[in-house]
């Protein structure tokens, strides 16, 4: 690597390189995921982008863009004036050969992103709306301004289609330097980058690195190739060199890594992927052929990997695990019945939902002069002619409420340990649930069966009473408790609420489903019930109440696919905090 290339592998120089590369081939590279808060650094970066490609305009696609504006459709004013359907071009088609700027992209709706993604893939926008059948070119690049940083990542469907990512947080104003390239350089590279050659050896290196980093997408590889070619074109080369390739890897592959390559990885089979044997032989081969550049490239990638990548990967996996469950507690849902109004949707009010009069009139208005002339209608209309397809319903967004179900082990073994602490913690949790307007239910199990002590309620007082009168002692019918919780969770789901189960137990079962004592049968039954519970995909936390962590409780948590928390040597308050963090 030259000095210049080394300097550009992080911070502002890297962000600047991304801007230059993007300006050369906006559509072929999809775009840039710009991770930054609004501020002078981001403004400056965008200004650099604009300066580099003066011919393309930045078109803003606002978050609240309507589907008809995005794709095109009926031109409201012209149709009303001229009395015949007039088509209006959509935003996506207007962005053709320009750049689409999506502010707060992390908040954008899935469908809006799906439209943008399809245009990025095909370079066209096809219109089948309002009686129009049309296809327009829509080849553009996207600058997705992402203020969510890590807690709210950009939707995968868009991120996947953007080759580059820049991180502008943590860059000091004093570091900012303008680009050394001028618009003419970019224009020249634009003409030439496609014919730059890239050797087979370079492609092999790319493929190997993508496998080592655990990148599955084929698009990412294509982006890396194109970026390398653009970088070479910017240096007036016709053959891609090593430095361009390495920088391209840093720019396009680093942030997509799903695992960190270790030095052993390249000589030994990586443990996680299933088809590791195949890699092993491939990698061994490569190792012999070209180990020095291989290591060097890997080092470059590793240097570019964010230091807290592992941490982030773990967080992502948690997030994914959470998405797999039926719903996050308090997930937002669109619905026609209740919540905060948000937009309208075409539909029939007879099927449920509330008519949105203004939107209905607006939908009918442009057609009025047409409909009055409509020869198929024998009656003459003097007033408004409203057809079924004009009807608009209000759409509401509401946080689906969650119901926390406490399943408390009141058996002898647990009672001896920390029943009182458990109770205290549960009361604190109840108070918190109450403040979030969520419901609470309570199942207690002891003796030979589990019992629903408190059906889902919002009354804190009632819950407190039920808990205060909780008797302790007896066997541990764990299997029955899990089945009861499962049943209740199902009921709660059917009622439109999202259940979350908090199971407080030491995991030692000694009563089986039939109510017979016997440790082995009871444990087997508990694990079977747990598998059934797991299949429902309900969010659950298991709190291990034993004095020392028991492997049984841990096994049970694994079988339930729930989170495992050991009750720390602490008071009710800390238990409460643990649960609140996990549910």
């Amino acid at each position: 690597m030259t000095d210049n290339d080394v300097a550009s592998s992080f911070g502002w120089p890297l962000a600047l390189r991304a801007a230059e590369v993007f300006s050369v081939a906006p559509h072929a590279l999809g775009g840039v995921n710009v991770k930054a808060f609004p501020g002078p650094v981001r403004d400056y970066w965008l200004a650099q982008c604009e300066a580099l490609s003066p011919k393309s305009l930045l078109r803003k696609i606002p978050l609240n863009v309507s589907e008809s504006r995005l794709l095109g459709g009926l031109n409201f004013v012209a149709t009303a004036t001229w009395g015949r359907p007039v088509m209006e071009q959509g935003l996506l088609a207007e962005c053709h050969e320009h750049i689409a700027l999506i502010p707060m992209a992390e908040r954008a709706e899935t469908r809006v992103l799906a439209f943008i993604g399809q245009s990025l893939d095909t370079g066209f926008v096809s219109l089948q709306r309002d009686g129009f059948n049309d296809q327009r070119p829509a080849a553009f690049g996207v600058l997705a301004l992402n203020e969510g940083l890590d807690d709210e990542p950009l939707a995968g469907s868009l991120d996947e289609r953007l080759a580059l990512q820049v991180q502008l947080t943590g860059i000091n104003l004093r570091e900012l330097t303008p680009t050394t390239l001028c618009a003419a350089d970019i224009a020249q590279a634009q003409r030439e980058w496609r014919v730059v050659n890239i050797s087979v050896e370079h492609m092999e290196r790319l493929a190997l690195i993508s496998v080592l980093l655990g990148i599955v997408s084929g698009r990412a590889l294509q982006f890396a190739v194109n970026t390398a070619k653009v970088l070479a074109a910017l240096k007036n080369l016709t053959q891609c060199d090593d430095a361009s390739l390495e920088l391209a890897i840093t720019l396009t592959l680093g942030h997509r890594a799903t695992r960190i390559p270790t030095p052993e990885d390249s000589s030994e089979p990586p443990p996680s992927p299933p088809d590791s044997e195949q890699h092993a032989s491939d990698e061994a081969q490569h190792q012999q052929n070209q180990s020095p550049p291989q290591d060097q490239v890997l080092e470059a990638v590793k240097a570019a990997l964010p230091a807290d990548l592992l941490h982030k990967l773990a967080a992502q996996q948690r997030l994914r695990a959470k998405q797999r469950t039926v719903g996050k507690s308090g997930a937002e849902q669109l619905c026609l019945k209740r919540g905060r109004p948000c937009g309208t949707i075409a539909g029939d009010p007879r099927r449920g939902g509330r008519l949105q009069l203004i939107a209905t009139l607006r939908a009918a208005a442009p057609w009025q002069s047409l409909r009055r002339q409509d020869p198929t209608q024998t009656q003459t209309h003097s007033g408004l002619v409203i057809r079924k397809q004009d009807l608009r319903l209000t759409r509401y967004r509401h946080r689906s409420e969650s119901t926390t179900v406490f399943v408390v082990d009141a058996s002898g073994s647990a009672a001896m340990h920390r029943l009182s602490e458990t109770k205290g913690a549960v009361e604190l949790l109840l108070a918190d649930c109450y403040s979030r307007r969520d419901s609470v239910a309570l199942i207690s199990f002891r003796g030979d069966s589990a019992e629903l002590i408190l059906p889902p309620t919002r009354s804190l007082l009632r819950a407190k009473r039920a808990l205060a009168g909780l008797p302790g002692g007896g066997g541990t019918p764990l299997a029955h408790a899990i089945d009861t919780a499962n049943l209740l969770a199902e009921q709660i789901q059917r009622g439109g609420s999202t259940p979350a189960i908090v199971l407080l137990t030491d995991g030692v079962a000694n009563i089986d489903l039939k109510g017979e004592p016997g440790r082995e049968a009871a444990t087997d039954d508990a694990l079977t019930s747990a598998a059934r519970f797991r299949a429902q995909g309900i969010n659950a936390v298991l709190i291990d109440t034993s004095p020392r962590g028991q492997s049984r409780a841990r096994n049970l948590a694994a079988a339930l696919c729930s989170q495992y928390v050991r009750l720390p040597h602490a008071n009710a308050q800390s238990l409460f905090e643990t649960v609140r963090a996990h549910v």
Partner: protein
């Protein structure tokens, strides 16, 4: 539309390619669903399929691609009226592959009153929608799990009955609409409604190949395609036309093949073992097996054909088993082992 990446140049993804070819050989198989990670070449393959399809004969000037050989029942109203004594004029066209974009509105999907004609000629004319254009061809929905519910509703009925009935704006039109539904999507974006899932005859889950060699080949093909599309397509032309001939031969052959009793029994046994709902699974299984045998030019339908298609026919038809954590493909695999040995 810009030039499509050739089907034969797609590296790997054999299950997906095979499913699409089976649907091309026997369109009655009932659609293909391709679900998989992003960037695995789902859309690329489906868009490339159009170039491979043979030509069909249609009634000239008919907006529903009516088949001139069909008895009157399978014709649209205008063709049925014209069909008295003389035969229709025919023309040969490529099998249509119609894109149903996500943002499509109902009037364009099922068809609606032609406003321009109504106003200027005072004529109550029906403007055919996408379903009419897709008759006898393919209807492709990218991101199928994001399709609006009311569009899905109108699709479900037509896909099951093969006929589109439009009652709106004073129009009363019915026309044949038999098409192969092809959907693709990313499972992370959302689940598919079970009713819609059931309309797909075949489903394949795909992932990106993880070995370096295949990946290199993918990059090389893609890169030379981007560099010079026309030359790349020209280079692939021979392979493409060989595959087209294979599909054409398969289409001609498929009606001559008859499944043996053994095949029928084994497929029924497979469906019973897996506990699939209804008979659609079995019917599709036999049709797909036959189409594969025809595609491969086999003289008989063998158990190997059955074994090859079973995962894609049955994978999406299983009921969820709470006590079985393994994926549906693994369960189908076990059942195949059990039944076919």
């Amino acid at each position: 539309m810009s030039l499509a990446f050739p089907f034969t140049a797609i590296v790997g993804q054999d299950a997906m390619k095979r499913a699409l070819m089976i649907a091309a050989v026997d369109q009655e198989v009932g659609g293909v669903l391709v679900m998989g990670d992003r960037g695995t070449g789902k859309s690329t393959a489906i868009r490339a399929l159009a170039a491979l399809l043979p030509k069909i004969e249609v009634v000239a000037g008919c907006s529903y691609n009516c088949d001139p050989d069909k008895a009157t029942a399978g014709l649209c109203e205008s063709c049925r009226v014209a069909d008295g004594s003389k035969r229709h004029k025919t023309e040969s066209v490529s099998i249509p592959v119609v894109d149903l974009p996500l943002g499509a509105t109902e009037d364009r999907v099922i068809g609606a009153l032609d406003i321009e004609k109504a106003l200027h000629a005072g004529e109550k004319a029906f403007e055919a929608g996408l379903l009419a254009r897709a008759h006898r061809g393919f209807l492709y929905i990218d991101e199928v799990n994001l399709l609006e519910d009311h569009i899905v509703d109108s699709l479900l009925d037509v896909a099951a009955s093969g006929e589109n009935v439009v009652e709106r704006e004073g129009l009363s039109v019915r026309h044949p609409a038999r098409f192969v539904l092809v959907g693709s999507g990313n499972p992370e974006e959302g689940e598919l409604r079970p009713q819609l899932l059931d309309r797909f005859g075949l489903s394949v889950d795909i992932t990106t190949p993880q070995d370096v060699k295949t990946r290199v080949e993918i990059i090389r093909n893609r890169d030379s395609f981007e560099r010079d599309r026309e030359a790349f397509i020209k280079k692939a032309r021979r392979k493409e036309s060989a595959l087209r001939k294979k599909i054409e031969a398969g289409r001609a052959r498929v009606s001559t093949l008859d499944p043996s009793i053994e095949i029928l029994e084994k497929s029924a046994e497979l469906c019973l073992t897996l506990g699939t709902d209804g008979l659609r699974g079995e019917i599709t299984l036999i049709r797909a097996t036959r189409a594969l045998a025809a595609l491969e030019g086999a003289s008989d339908i063998t158990l190997k054909h059955l074994r090859d298609v079973a995962p894609m026919v049955l994978g999406h038809r299983l009921r969820r088993d709470p006590l079985d954590e393994s994926g549906s493909q693994a369960r189908v695999g076990r059942a195949i082992e059990q039944v076919l040995g």
